[in-house]
């Protein structure tokens, strides 16, 4: 398998190319821009047989992507932050139309003030849209997850769009080695485009006619069933991708040193790598700590979460976003989903950090986790909510 050295953004572009996308409609925004540039270059050089629609806004980017998908094409777009907020209306529309589409989101802080560094408010803003929401840790996973996204999205049990998050700059503009499969093997694994319906004039078909409340609710109940099915499909796709190309992540979550762990940390995105380093040091010092790294937050891996956290002596959820006036969005999800299985929750701490793109290092993680566990061992429960900030 050819190994290449790529930025996260070029990795996204390469994955879209190798998935043989047929239509790309996108609009530039920092830090996503180099995805669009690279895809335009592939297409203009004839390396990718696709049509690029150079739209006038993100709202139109997803609208045109939707149009191409409805007409039967494998379609792709990418955006970030304000672009994602601007197209938010369409984010809902696409999933409710049950049309497979893949979109990459380079996470970036929302203004005002203007800020181009990574935090996850833009990503979590799409939480309730009906998209499958995945998040990568490094460029290799960006590649693998983008390819897998097409397979998941186009599975007849799912037929839902998939969004893949990656951190601004930490991944988007940082080069890393990426293993890529041979094109032929990938074609064989991914297969041709599949979707629930095609509107191409071959028969009269209406999409989205006014529906009465009962009918509408049934459509949305079916979407929820699709999400439940997606849990199975994501695990299956991870397995079969692993068999074909040698990399398996563990489905909806990635478990790191969880086997004998008594304390747990939960995080997602690029800084999970720093958290792993902290876990390693703490393990050397004898702390029984494990990391759950979220690969998907929709559908939410509730079963996995309960299986691991049942009996945990303490959990810290690191959120790189805040639901102002409440807690971090990831924490809220973890806590709420555990109640599906038990009302006896372990001690759970929510640490907000890195918001606005503030750098958080493995040393910060080390200190935060160590002091939490030390306190708990002494019988002292630290406050549930902490906004960790340093200059």
């Amino acid at each position: 398998m050819p190994k290449v050295v790529l930025t996260g953004n070029y990795t996204v572009a390469l994955a879209a190319k190798m998935a043989r996308v047929e239509v790309v409609a996108a609009y530039p925004i920092t830090p996503q821009t180099s995805i669009v540039e690279k895809l335009a270059e592939y297409i203009d050089k004839g390396e990718l047989d696709a049509i690029m629609i150079r739209v006038e806004s993100e709202h139109s980017a997803l609208a045109a992507t939707f149009g191409a998908a409805v007409a039967g094409a494998r379609a792709f777009t990418a955006t970030s932050s304000h672009g994602l907020l601007y197209m938010h209306e369409w984010v809902h529309w696409v999933s409710r139309a049950r049309i497979p589409v893949v979109m990459a989101i380079v996470t970036r802080t929302i203004g005002t003030p203007w800020n181009i560094w990574s935090s996850y408010e833009d990503f979590f803003g799409q939480r309730d849209t009906g998209w499958i929401l995945g998040f990568a840790m490094d460029n290799q996973e960006v590649f693998d997850m983008t390819i897998q996204a097409f397979k998941i999205s186009e599975d007849p049990r799912v037929y839902l769009p998939v969004l893949i998050g990656l951190d601004a700059f930490t991944l988007s503009h940082t080069t890393m080695p990426v293993d890529t499969p041979e094109q032929e093997e990938l074609d064989k694994w991914l297969g041709p485009r599949r979707q629930g319906y095609v509107i191409n004039g071959s028969e009269p078909l209406a999409l989205g006619n006014l529906a009465w409340p009962e009918d509408s609710e049934e459509f949305f109940m079916d979407l929820q069933r699709g999400m439940e099915e997606a849990k199975k499909v994501i695990r299956e796709v991870d397995e079969s991708y692993g068999k074909a190309f040698g990399r398996k992540y563990g489905g909806l979550i990635y478990r790191y040193r969880c086997e004998d762990a008594k304390y747990h940390v939960i995080a997602m995105g690029a800084w999970s790598g720093d958290l792993m380093e902290a876990v390693n040091v703490l393990r050397e010092e004898g702390y029984p700590i494990g990391l759950i790294r979220m690969r998907f937050i929709r559908p939410f891996p509730d079963e996995e979460m309960y299986e691991i956290l049942n009996g945990s002596k303490g959990v810290i959820v690191f959120d790189r976003a805040i639901s102002f006036g409440s807690l971090g969005p990831l924490y809220l999800d973890v806590a709420a989903n555990l109640t599906k299985y038990t009302h006896k929750l372990p001690y759970m701490r929510n640490i907000i950090a890195g918001v606005g793109g503030v750098n958080v290092t493995h040393k910060d993680f080390y200190e935060l986790v160590k002091t939490t566990i030390d306190d708990l061992e002494k019988g002292v429960e630290p406050p549930v909510f902490t906004w960790y900030h340093r200059r």
């Binding site: 409609a25 049509i51 139109s60 149009g67 191409a68 007409a71 004039g201 209406a206 989205g208 529906a211």
Partner: protein, 298 residues
């Protein structure tokens, strides 16, 4: 327009089916019948929020015997661009993509996506059916509402002039722009057929008098549509090869003396009941300016 005028196929009633939800005298179903006559069911309508979203009926019914993609308000031109390019990539050539939007979805909220698609010259027909206000939400003014007209958000009459979207489209340099009216279905039909033969972005303005919103007898939709042309308020034309080609029904009215007085058009409509003399003068000036512009570009 080339003569003789092509006859409308008799099966135009097969496309707009019984059971649609339009008001009596609605111009939308008239327009859609002509679209159906031109393309049969080999058509994909991209419809943003507008009266037609309701007119075609509720799921699982569909009163239009062609394909429809309902889309968010601002996005008709963007989705139509995507469908057109998706079909091109897939090698599908036997279906006509049409964005079918009202004046609100075109002149106001959809203006940016319309301008984008026109500038990119994406290959589809955009039809703006102009009932001159937000009728689906209950008669609120749009930028295409004429001055002096009552709406629920201009209870004393609109103060601003009407936005001329056809001219804005001409300024984009697209290959084909035309104005049409539900009062002249043959003319509209011929323009649709011609547009379908041209590759790239085509814009057709369709004047659509609305009995409910304009406050007139539903029996008079066609009469009022024709009066708009006969008073010179609306000029039917095509724009291609860099100049205006005046269409048959409007040819006599290049001569101001042949035009009927504007009052004949205004007096049939409740929305102009309280129109002030100065607003009538604004409308007259608008008409004069438009014809001067047409003469310069003919």
């Amino acid at each position: 327009m080339a003569r003789p005028i092509p006859p409308l196929p008799r099966d135009m009633r097969n496309t707009v089916l019984p059971g649609h939800a339009a008001c009596h005298g609605c111009p939308i179903t008239i327009g859609l019948k002509v679209v159906g006559a031109a393309f049969g069911n080999k058509v994909i309508l991209v419809i943003p929020a507008c009266c037609t979203s309701v007119v075609v009926g509720a799921w699982p019914g569909n009163a239009f015997n062609g394909s429809i993609v309902h889309v968010a308000f601002a996005s008709a031109a963007a989705v139509a661009s995507g469908i057109a390019e998706g079909l091109r990539k897939r090698g599908v050539k036997d279906v006509q993509v049409i964005a079918w939007a009202g004046d609100g979805g075109t002149a106001d909220i959809g203006m940016a996506s319309l301008s984008g698609a026109a500038e990119r010259n994406n290959d589809f027909i955009y039809i703006m059916y102009d009932n001159e206000a937000y009728m689906n939400t209950g008669i609120q003014r749009s930028s295409a509402t004429p001055p002096g007209a009552w709406t629920t958000t201009t209870p004393l009459g609109k103060l601003e002039p009407k936005k001329d979207v056809a001219r804005i489209m001409i300024a984009h340099g697209v290959p084909y722009v035309a104005t049409a009216s539900v009062g002249y279905p043959h003319d509209f039909y011929a323009k649709l057929k011609k547009a379908a033969r041209i590759r790239g972005f085509k814009f057709i303005y369709l004047h659509a008098p609305c009995p409910t919103g304009w406050r007139f007898d539903p029996a008079h939709t066609i009469k009022i549509a024709k009066l708009a042309v006969e008073t010179g308020l609306l000029a039917l034309y095509e724009y291609y090869d860099g100049r205006i080609h005046l269409s048959g029904p409007s040819r006599p009215y290049i001569d101001k003396s042949k035009r009927k007085p504007i009052e004949e058009y205004l007096k049939l409509q409740g929305r102009f009941k309280k129109i002030r003399d100065e607003d009538v003068k604004v409308i007259e000036r608008y008409v004069d300016n438009m014809w001067e512009w047409i003469k310069k570009h003919i």
